[in-house]
Point group: C2
Chain length 340, copies 2
Amino acid sequence: MTAVSDRNHRITFQRSPKGLPVAEDFGADTTPIPTPGPGQFLSRTVYLSLDPYYRNVMKNSQIYADRLNPGDVMVGETVAQIVESRHTDFRAGDYIAVRNGWQEYALSSGQGVRRLDPAVAPISAALGVLGMPGLTGYAGLVYLGEPKPGETVVVSAATGAVGTTAGQVARLVGARAVGIAGSDEKCEFAVRELGYAACVNYKKGDLAAQLKEACPTGVDVYFDNVGGDTLTAVLRNLARGARIVLCGMIEAYSLDTPPAGPFLGPVVGARATMRGLVVYDHMHRMDEMTRVIGGWIRSGQFRYREDVTDGLAQAPEAFCRLMRGGNFGKALVRVSAERS
Amino acid sequence: MTAVSDRNHRITFQRSPKGLPVAEDFGADTTPIPTPGPGQFLSRTVYLSLDPYYRNVMKNSQIYADRLNPGDVMVGETVAQIVESRHTDFRAGDYIAVRNGWQEYALSSGQGVRRLDPAVAPISAALGVLGMPGLTGYAGLVYLGEPKPGETVVVSAATGAVGTTAGQVARLVGARAVGIAGSDEKCEFAVRELGYAACVNYKKGDLAAQLKEACPTGVDVYFDNVGGDTLTAVLRNLARGARIVLCGMIEAYSLDTPPAGPFLGPVVGARATMRGLVVYDHMHRMDEMTRVIGGWIRSGQFRYREDVTDGLAQAPEAFCRLMRGGNFGKALVRVSAERS
């Protein structure tokens, strides 16, 4: 159990990173722990989710609602436990998924808050395979990728939270899942634990050639979590009528001016379809996703891995590591201990 | 009427161009005029179609069935008149659309040949708005672009044969057509003759800014005939849910290694769909297209322009001009006169 202080520790936005973020792009401070007013509750953050899109938020790009000024607490998804409530629907002790940001305590009016049942799955899963990343992988693959039994589905960042979901959903609907990851260790995990039929290490030689070997009949669906050279290599291996789900472009988040993209000639040749995925369009499928994947988790058909860093103070360093591709599994920061 | 010789004049493939094609990439020779065997007919080329994809054929890229060796006659679509027939379904005097290539005379067994009725429209239209370019613009816009009344449809190479068709089909189904072309003269023609609501000259200043002005509610459908920087500029102006039809990449045809493509971030932000169009997938719609557009032509609702060069010997130079963007209207070579 973490020592309890009477102050709220926070990590703040300091400046927009140049290129890959560094710890100095963040600040830290403490404020008094706030007290809930009528209709509010106070919750204590248990887990903070680290997600690549924060890098884009720090750029103050217009596609996000959040705008950060220096000194503002960093935004972010969290799992928290209610400490004190003046809200009729929430009680002290309840576990919730809430956007507390990078801090120990926050007030909420309950808007956009999801209640969590620790009996369904460990509460941290609500930030990964049973949260926004899970919804991204599930809705993107099922509704935009439309995989059919027997088809080949390629997933990049195969062992991240989104990829873990997309890859296992592909397998469980009867497709052949092929992963792309950045180390032999991740590839081994993808095949052994997540059930990918094959996984190629993009740091080892010619990715397009490796994919050709792993996907002898071509790529029917590509769930793209990274963009860049990986996307170019996959485009060289498309099957006729391929569907490409454009989800993340982690390489681009750390650049000030957008990089060039892939040559699209192969998209024409393959009569392929590329579609952009924004997870907020699929919020109405959160219950469906939780039911389907929650069931697979409990029956042992669906697995996931977390990369947990201890202590809020370590969050900036952990985030920088994530952006360098150094994490292995869903990146989380344990901000405080779960209490029962 | 062209003088009749007893030799068959041909333009041949000499070498794969470096960059933009030059006249020296072609050769010329004469052969005896062949004589039809049983089940064959001989036809005399009236019009040769010049199309940018020939540049890709000259690259000996694998996506085309045609493979050219130095000295082979250049491949190409033509309109021809039958001179002598030993085929039960074709008679001397019939006008046909046939792949005679860049030569005055050729034999055919009738396979893939379309019979033309000069009463429907001028026979040269079978190489443009009532031929493969027309089918490309029609099927691509209608079936891949899916324009709805009131939507904004942007068409690049707006006055070429494909663009002429896509832009007018957009207008005639009730959408607002906005063209992109390479001169004020072409833009004026696009608005005055083809009925585009607006047309921007990409050679005049910031294309993305011009498009923003011409498309205040964003681009719902983009029919892309060119790729490259034009595509990038359109991507910056997408409306939510936009459809992009990838059709031609004329810039890329003259390059040995594929160029980079556009940054795809805006495709994600707009939840857009990009689809590759290959006209051969839509051959079964040729009759439908001919019926629909032929009707519009006869009722005066649909117009087109041709850029005719006289004489087969001028074909290489005319093709090089086409690849530099110097044509205005569907590029044709008049190989011989129409006879009645």
